[in-house]
Symmetry: C2
Subunit: 622 residues, 2 copies
């Protein structure tokens, strides 16, 4: 169902109801851009820590607009053994609702816009009919404005305008309005004396209506640009006051707009599914709740305090949503049984409508169902339907996939993140003319290596054997054109530099910059200069649905496919770690898996393997 400004209010209860009755929700967002850095690929390095990734996305991606939000609710019908789904495709735009409302500026990235345009995305619908929204601070401010106006009206007393000197804020009436005001006062006094006349229409006023109304608040009602003054008794006054308050509340609700849907999702406590969901979650918090906090640990607190407590991300490698959906219809998975609810249009997965947020949310939900049900196949007796509430699913709660990080598969929203050993990783600096082939040549003695570009003049190089790390460092000791250090040394030095730089520059411009720049940029700039001076020519690339197919040469052709540097190779270790300090509640599942999981790297990925595609080839499962 398409939801725009004009039909939003009428359908809001339908949305609430769908959320309330659902077993789980799937969401997806379309954005006006992905990265405002000089290059998209700068966003992801294979050895980003979760904190670094968070900071990069926060700094380079939050100025874009989330302008289409897909919500798909899924409710299981036990009798019919199928899911009933309701899909909503919301168009969103921060239309200013009055003179005092925030005039939002957002960035568009031409590659993303061009990509969406090619998909037939309807920008006119967004800009002409998008549903407005307010974040919590804006909502609070607007509420305060209304409250203030009301208390002014109530507190001004009956005729205090006659003695402005006694009022708390004396108002100086400009010379050119003195006559007008004097006449009004005279006319009002006449009106009050005269029992026959009930109201009084003033001449069009030249001056500031608001100033005059402020003076006369309690005794007149404004009608367009004319001022009509009516006598009202206390009861009538109260009735009108209540009317006004109800109207104000409605205006407030209208202004909060789409944020009400997000609040409903958050407050429902329902399981929320997304595909590569980190960016969606960050944008949702940023746009509809509050500016993103300075660091990852605070972000985790925010997500928990806003009740986004049951996000399940898919942990997916090298697979677009469309590919994924196709794959999950095949053995060993089974295609999910899903039907549209009555009155809701159904999507046809055969004729793809990818990159409409509502459709993408729908597909995401389908994938989840297939995956969850697949989990049931490991039980004995086999279970064909695994509910979203099943214990089997819990181990995957609150883990957001970290695209293209080699050895940290996910960001853990509900606890500390994995800290993989990086004792096989080197940090190499070199002249900016160097290419990947130069690095291959330099390390030719060390067998297979993997290169993760950081910027023009540095990269991480991971060796296959940690023991060789020190040898590499030693041999480079007297090299002039390049420099090699261990990952540990690199981290240490970076930390020191950060501290020093912060001290030096913080006082002089941080405060001012904070005012000038959009809030979310500043803290990061001052803390992590490192990323600012880099010139972003890495090889890995973040993927997101609104990404353009036009990419750096070093990037992939289709972002959806997420062709990285074979992240699986290095995921093994960390996943074992994640297991060893992992969830007790997953024990049962683990046991099943240890018995049945196929050999190879994927099996080492423990309870993550369910959602870990490339799906093992079919015959592995026979």
């Amino acid at each position: 169902m398409e939801v725009i400004r004009s039909n939003f209010k009428d359908n809001l209860n339908k949305v609430y109801e769908a959320i309330e009755e659902s077993d789980f929700l799937a969401i997806d967002g379309e954005f006006s851009g992905i990265s405002d850095g000089p290059s998209v690929s700068a966003l992801t390095n294979g050895f980003d820590t979760p904190e670094e990734r968070y900071q990069k996305l926060k700094k380079h991606s939050m100025d874009f607009l989330l302008f289409q939000f897909g919500l798909c609710t899924f409710k299981y019908d036990d009798a019919e053994e199928k899911y009933i789904m309701k899909s909503f495709n919301f168009y969103i735009f921060p239309k200013p609702f009055n003179r005092n409302s925030p005039d939002v500026k957002f960035v568009c990235q031409s590659s993303s816009i061009d990509f969406l345009a090619n998909q037939g995305f309807d920008f006119n619908k967004v800009f002409r009919n998008g549903i407005p929204y307010l974040n919590q601070e804006e909502e609070r401010q607007l509420r305060e404005q209304y409250d203030e106006k009301r208390s002014q009206a109530n507190g001004a007393g009956s005729l205090s305008y006659l003695s402005p000197s006694s009022a708390k804020c004396p108002v100086t009436i400009p010379d050119d309005q003195k006559k007008f005001i004097e006449k009004v006062v005279e006319q009002i006094e006449d009106l009050l004396k005269n029992e026959e006349s009930e109201s009084l229409e003033l001449e069009p006023c030249t001056g500031s209506v608001s100033e005059i109304t402020y003076l006369l608040k309690n005794v007149f009602i404004l009608k367009e640009r004319y001022i009509v003054i009516s006598k009202v008794d206390e009861e009538e006054r109260k009735r009108r006051e209540q009317q006004k308050q109800a109207k104000e509340q409605e205006e407030l609700n209208d202004a909060v707009g789409f944020s009400r849907v997000v609040h409903a999702i958050a407050n429902s406590g329902k399981l929320v599914i997304g595909h590569n969901m980190l960016l969606d979650v960050m944008h949702t918090i940023h746009q509809f709740y509050c500016p993103l906090p300075d660091d990852l640990s605070e972000f985790k607190e925010v997500t928990s305090c806003y009740s986004f407590s049951k996000l399940i991300p898919f942990i997916i490698n090298n697979t677009s949503l469309a590919e994924l959906e196709k794959r999950l219809k095949e053995v060993p998975f089974s295609p999910p049984k899903v039907e549209s609810a009555e009155g809701f249009p159904s999507y046809d997965t055969a004729s793809e409508q990818l990159h409409e947020a509502g459709y993408d949310a729908y597909i995401t939900g389908l994938c989840f169902i297939s995956m969850a049900n697949f989990l049931g196949s490991f039980l004995s007796p086999r279970k064909n339907h695994v509910s979203a509430r099943s214990k089997l699913v819990e181990p995957f709660f609150n883990k957001l996939f970290l695209m293209r990080v080699m050895d940290i598969p996910y960001l853990n929203l509900e606890g500390p993140d994995l800290q993989p050993k990086r004792d096989h990783v080197l940090h190499v600096s070199f002249p900016k003319e160097w290419k990947t082939s130069d690095l291959y040549q330099l390390f030719s003695a060390f067998g297979n290596i993997q290169v993760s570009w950081i910027d023009d003049t540095s990269a991480f190089v991971s060796l296959s054997q940690p023991e060789q790390v020190q040898i590499a460092v030693n041999t480079s000791r007297y090299a002039e054109s390049y420099r090699i250090q261990t990952y540990a040394e690199y981290v240490e030095k970076k930390h020191e530099e950060k501290q020093a730089k912060r001290k030096c520059t913080e006082d002089s411009w941080k405060e001012m910059e904070r005012k000038r720049l959009k809030t979310q940029c500043t803290p990061y700039v001052s803390q992590s200069r490192y990323y600012c001076v880099n010139s972003f020519t890495g090889t890995s690339t973040v993927g997101k649905r609104s990404m353009s197919p036009i990419e750096e040469e070093t990037g992939s052709d289709d972002m959806e496919e997420g062709e990285g540097q074979d992240p699986e190779n290095d995921q093994t270790d960390s996943c074992v770690e994640s297991l060893s300090d992992g969830k007790k509640r997953a024990k049962k599942l683990k046991k099943v898996k240890t018995e049945q999981a196929p050999a190879g790297k994927c099996s080492a990925y423990a309870h993550g393997f369910l959602f870990c595609l490339k799906v093992p080839s079919q015959n592995t499962w026979d």
Copy 2:
């Protein structure tokens, strides 16, 4: 005529021809926003210097996209005594044309977008069908890329791939591709030996095609993802090379796109008319030529070196384009005789299509014709048609209206700017609770004053009598809550602060920030901190066509109307100055005017008065 990506190339000659044959051109732009500062009104203070205004617009307005460009050409038909006009409405969008093309980020301001949406602006047309463009630097880079590719192809020689060690950039073939390459080399050697076979189709290659093609450049032609290798003789090779070069040139032209129209306008040397044209000119330079220079004097050089040498701005107060057009149909003006050229759609001024750039350009042209012809009414004998080439018009060349600056009517592109005395102006600082009424009260002893807000806690206050300035400063000497200084003192202090701050912070972060931020922001930030720390709550507001009607309470309802603080009051002095150092060539006109111009302030505005509306009331001219 609507020009979009798909019909741009076909109509380009029509555009060139229209420009070439025209007597003058009118232009107009629509933007994705006006000001990215926290408030639009911060952009204009009544006492901005031209340099300050330039810096503000540069800092706060250049990240927006000029996405519709109106061009209307006017050619006078002497026989028929009427103008023939051709109107073009170009949709513009920086569509990335390949992997290496710039991925432009631009800002949208929701109030501006909402305003345009309400006018029926077609965003889909912009984003789906907008004509791409390159600025001069981007064009140069692209040209270099092609040149480099070509010289690589020519210089690589016939079979140098066989001995990579002798090549300038040795290429290391990755292990996994070695077999493939070896096989290719074998196959090619066979092909060369075998006189019967003419070409060779390779297996689909898994590795980087570009790396392989680089090696084999001169002996094969690429077909999609397969590699086909053909034997070619020298003649065939040259023919293909020429074909390729022609294709590259066409690709280059396509990428330069709309900039070619701007170049044609600039190079034509024709008179270019605009309405409140400063922002249009700045955006045009910024988007299609080069980032705006650091200061105003350089900007003036750029405009002259790009041959934008005959801009005539309208100097208009308190009048929207629509109002202006209506007014200029009435006595003492006469409605211009204009017809659309054959094959060009005509605009109907009765059913307004304002805020389509093409239409606005058309109206702008009409206004110019009325005004220019009106000039002829002062000659004896009276002249009904004054050509765009007339000496009468010259005094208005290259003066860009400075909206809402009280005492500097225009920015002079071809010389130093006016420097009005500001000896009646005070700079007042006060607690942020203060309102305009507090300032009226504070200065109540000094008669009529005018307040120009700078920020929350300061404003310029102009007194009617300069002699009172010192009295005001003296009486405030012991005041605690506020502080008064003369304009001269204020300027002096600001200058000192700037110097000091620049020194302190420049080294530590300027370089880095330059990289991070869009280029045009940086220099200004470091030079004029002053504007950064202000919080922008002034009363005056800049006006521009894409401005939303929703505005700050202190701003005006309709930006087009440009309701400021009655700028005429203070324009008198400066205009007399501008006269005294003014253009000799305007002498004749001046004489006429001194005799005939009506009494009052407007007459003192000398040769500016023609374009100075409010137009004097009709009976003045009888």
